[in-house]
Amino acid sequence: MTDQGRKPYLALSIGAEAALALLDDAALAQALDRSGLGFVVLGAERFTEDAAARVRLDPSVLAARLSATLPTTAIIVAAALQRDHPYNLARRVATDDHVTGGRSGLLLGVTDRGAPAVERAWGGAGLGDGAPLDEETLRDAALAIARLWQSWPIESIVADRRTRVYAEAERILRVEHDGRYRISGPFTVPTTPQGSPVLAVRAESAVSAAHHGDGVDLVVVAEGEGLPEGIRPHLVVELRREGIDAGSLAEAVGALGGADGILLDASAIDAGALLRLLTEDVPRLFAAGALSRSGAGPTLRSRLGLPAPAPLLADAAPAFGA
């Protein structure tokens, strides 16, 4: 948590139907792009029991498509360890971050509630042992992803036509992550326009939220879980409401002193309701001083006032020999 004096930024979790509507509805897309939201989350329904059945589209593919329609909005995609591996997830989100010029992030959670229950995280087509499906594995996966994102500094690509050296290979680092996951590295994608994409984890409780730190930028906790104290990353509180209106939201936000951001679950609303939310309720919330508009920087990291990620590979060996 940082900057006690600043009002929280507002982010929105939207559903597949609203996302599809954005592709065809220029007025809606423009309203979102100009709304002053910190970011939009795609696919977060998978983390809650009653909403998971609504997941219809793959968030990373949808984000890659949607970002072409939304020149300003930052998009964070949700993923669960139950279905995918940190190396795959890291590559998709880093690729998105390159093509969007640094407007991308990942919201990582443990369980996909829309999928059949399993005990182990996905570990490679039955070839490897999946890690236990719990929050310690989430912590480890987040650290592994953050390390991968630092493995290939883009400055190492010098493309010197005279000497025919494309990359100064000694600056590309092995990862040798050895925790719940074992990942050798290096990564396939160089560092992105915002250094690393924004990495968020969805903690199951206020207590577990306190365990997330290394490499993590945002910790998301559901409203009813209480507020964790003393965490290093930004704290984002997820609000879920049957009906969304500016008055009751302002009140709820006021009771959440200490949150850096509010993630409002709008995944069940349709395009019409989303347009009203963006053009009527959100401006009222900003006007009432309950929330602040996000910064105007080019990257998601700069807009949220997030620092550059702390170096995680200071002692790593070069990936390529001399």
Binding site: A115, A159, R164, S184
Partner: protein, 405 residues
């Protein structure tokens, strides 16, 4: 999949299927990146990729293919960094309207439900313009990014690929829920297990064939195998890859090739040929021919799991046909160690080669592998495509469906 593609024109209506495989944004030659005067970080720049996609669409290409190995395999002095293809192509689909895309997925290193949903989302957002290329991943390093120390043996990898495809199809039916979006499968490579899987399920095989006779044999085998699965011969296309350097004259093309190939070193080239064949050639004199018993050993050798059987077979066929000393043979090894045909010459000669292979039944089309990007792609679109269109071998506009030719 079978039954979901529109009928292809056989006989007199036959048209070429043409795709492009952009090995990375520099091209297949190691130093192709030095040809471009643009920025060092181009391989990660969406503007360059958009330019490539728009060039392909201008040339009415059927497919923009990207391979994938989840590890930076290659030489660090060349452009080995890579964006993840599925995400990148999803973005490019938003910036095009007729071009098809083929993305590569490792059946060993992905979960089938996750991939079924991804491909279905791609089809929904692109109007059905995607195909998926399932590979097993044969190199050791990618597995070590997934906590797996050794490459699984080939039979195990292919068993996994077969069950992956079956699960993919099962999940597809549920996810699609009657929407009717097609699941197009393309198979790159040609090991016996891969060919069998392709004959049953795939819409097209992207193969390696260094000679026309060898290509004709592969195509004929594939078509005959497909009928064994109750399919028609024309339900599956055979499209070999061709590495392409195009010049205004033969001399210019050869100059370009030499400049970006990075010079020639017989020791390295012999080692690369040894790797490709899976037998050591180190003791052989450069002036002697490769003994037939070594070629037989190479053909039979399956102990080495990390080389493509298809590439090896293709190249052995070429060596036998050419009957040249080792010093000449090593100059023909694709610098990436692949068994693809390599073409260096003028647009007229390339159009003639494509036409001949197509009309004599050696291929249903080609996957163009530009040796220098975007130069060779732009040259192909501006100079080869019109020749193929004038002769009626290639279409002038997009038809209905991914494989409509």
């Amino acid at each position: 999949m079978t039954g979901t593609s529109p009928a292809r024109g056989g006989g007199a209506d036959r048209r070429l299927f043409i795709g492009a495989n952009v090995a990375n944004s520099g091209g297949t030659l190691p130093y192709a990146w030095t040809r471009s005067a643009t920025a060092a970080t181009d391989p990660h720049d969406p503007v360059l990729w958009r330019r490539i996609a728009e060039t392909l669409e201008r040339g009415v290409f059927h497919a923009f293919f990207l391979g994938d190995i989840p590890h930076p395999v290659g030489r660090p002095d060349t452009t080995l960094s890579k964006l993840e293809p599925t995400t990148l192509l999803a973005r490019l689909a938003a910036q095009t309207s007729g071009l098809g895309f083929a993305t590569t997925i490792s059946s060993s290193l992905n979960e089938p439900f996750e991939i079924a949903r991804k491909i279905h989302t791609l089809q929904r957002l692109s109007g059905g313009r995607f195909a998926v290329n399932i590979v097993t991943t044969a190199q050791r390093e990618p597995y070590q990014n997934f906590g797996i120390d050794e490459v699984p043996a080939r039979p195990e990898r292919y068993a996994r690929a077969v069950s992956f495809v079956e699960e993919l199809i099962d999940h597809w039916a549920r996810i699609d829920a009657g929407a009717g979006l097609p699941l197009h499968l393309l198979q790159a490579g040609g090991s016996p297990q891969g060919v069998a899987l392709a004959a049953e399920r795939a819409d097209a095989v992207y193969g390696s064939a260094s000679t026309r006779d060898y290509s004709a044999g592969l195509r004929s085998t594939l078509r005959s195998l497909a009928t064994g699965f109750g399919r028609r011969e024309d339900d599956i296309l055979f499209v070999p890859g061709v590495n392409v350097t195009i010049g205004a004259t033969q001399a210019e093309a050869e100059q370009l090739f030499d400049r970006y190939a990075g010079g020639f070193d017989s020791e390295t080239a012999t080692a690369r040929l040894s790797d490709l064949l899976g037998v050591s050639l180190a003791g052989l004199s450069q002036t002697s021919r490769i003994p037939e018993e070594l070629l037989v050993e190479a053909l039979e050798g399956t102990a080495d799991q990390t080389q493509s059987i298809a590439h090896r077979r293709s190249f052995i066929t070429l060596i036998r046909e050419l009957d040249e000393p080792l010093s000449d043979v090593i100059r023909r090894v694709d610098l990436n160690g692949s068994g693809h045909l390599t073409f260096v010459g003028t647009a007229e000669r390339l159009a003639e080669l494509i036409r001949t292979w197509f009309r004599t039944g050696a291929a249903d089309g080609f996957i163009i592998r530009p040796q220098s990007v975007p130069h060779d792609l732009e040259a192909f679109v501006d100079t080869v495509v019109p020749l193929l269109q004038e002769s009626g071998d290639f279409h002038r506009e997009y038809g209905e469906g991914f494989f409509a030719v």
